[in-house]
Amino acid sequence: MGEGGWELKTQNCELESVVSIGRLLTVYSPAMMTTVEPESNVPPVELTVFSGPLDLLLHLIRKNEVSIYDIPIVSICDQYHTHLRAMRELDLDVAGDFLWMASWLLHLKSKMLLPSVVESEEDPRDELVERLLAYRRVKELASYLHDSDIVRRCLWAPDVETSISSLAEPELDWEDVDLRLLAQTYLEVMQRFEASHPPPIEVLPLRYKVEEKMSDIYQRVNMDGLVPLLRDLNSRSDPEEVVAVVVAVLELVRLRGVFAEQRKAFAEIYLRPGDRQLSNRELLHHGENSG
């Protein structure tokens, strides 16, 4: 075992191509090697070392040249753990699947080390062998698909116009319309609907009651005789309160309980008592309407 278990880096280069990017490591399985050809200028972003724990196990079995039906669990388990340690040292994100397999191997190792009580007892490795065989079949088929993909991706379909214009076929093949496409389409339609039907602007009730401001100003005007409205408004920092005061003043003017005077444009607006005495009922009645 080499340092950190990455001896394949130097010894098995013809089998596994290893690309070092900083401290990260990319190992391509043989099937992937052919795709490393610089067809693209995009650097390989996939930093999966092995496509899963079974892939790593198969690699160890092949490297040790042992039979898949008679796996030396103790030694393979140790090598597996060395690999995991190396992957962590390299800051690779070791998925839970790898850890799960690690504990399974430990479990098998302990079982193998125990003296066999009954001769006819099932080999504890059976399930692992079965899964490795099934996975190897998947890998073989994947490698076949990979080779096929290399050639087939180079094929282009024709795009010929006809002399008749109205031939455009509907774009979707019914055979390939599945639940996901249906759900996506529904969400798109609803998004479009919501975009063209924005929710109505919600008018929040004023935090300041107009009728309160009315009696407030009415009393001040009657007490002081003269109230500079603009200066009063400038002293209030909350725009909502300013709105409430303005509405209250307009209402008071309408009811002739207050008069407003301005000498010239932009000059101060003075409020003084009007020619009508307002009752409390009149002041409150307004509040009932404006809510």
């Binding site: 996901r180 249906l182 759900a183």
Partner: protein, 182 residues
């Protein structure tokens, strides 16, 4: 580049191009030392002759901005016929939208579908009824008593569902159908 590869490459480019192709674009795409505008033009002229045979379904013609492939007008009748047949196996975007609305909001009326899509969907609904993907399911008890539509049994079979209730919540499906299944 030998003459045969030149002809084959030009043919492949013309057939896969969407619209007329200029000679200069061909020369640039081939990018070989021995291929110039003259060679390409000669190849094109030979192709015009070679393709102009009764058993050929395609013609080469020179238009204002280059060369393009077209089907001979005499074959229009068969092309029209084929594309009509092909359309039956296909679905327009509008039809998919109506299907999605009915699937997720059934039972639903045509005015409701129109309102959601913002487009009249009467003919699309009719087509989907003919294709037996939708079915009528009574009338809604509102003014005008519009028909209610639901998805059909064929619809369920196509999507591998037993009941309309098995239809997954679209938000959930698109967001994390593959994660939640774990």
């Amino acid at each position: 580049m030998d003459k045969e590869t030149l002809t084959a490459s030009i043919e492949a480019i013309l057939l896969t191009a969407n619209g007329p192709v200029a000679v200069s674009a061909l020369v640039e795409a081939l990018d070989e030392k021995d291929v110039g505008a003259e060679e390409v033009k000669n190849a094109l002229t030979s192709m015009v002759v070679a393709w102009d045979r009764p058993e050929s379904g395609i013609r080469l013609e020179q238009v204002a901005d280059g060369w393009r492939c077209v089907t001979p007008p005499a074959l229009d009748i068969y092309l029209r016929s084929y594309h009509g047949i092909a359309a039956r196996q296909r679905l327009s975007q509008a039809a998919l939208e109506v299907l999605a609305i009915v699937a997720h909001r059934q039972p639903v009326t045509l005015p409701e579908i129109n309102f959601i899509r913002g487009a009249n969907s009467a003919s699309v609904v009719r087509t989907l009824l003919e294709r037996k993907l939708l079915r009528m399911a009574g009338r809604k008890k509102v003014v005008g008593k519009p028909f209610l539509y639901r998805t059909s049994k064929e619809f369920l079979i196509h999507f591998g569902l037993e009941r309309p209730e098995d239809l997954p919540d679209p938000e959930e499906l698109v967001r994390d159908e593959t994660i939640s299944a774990d």
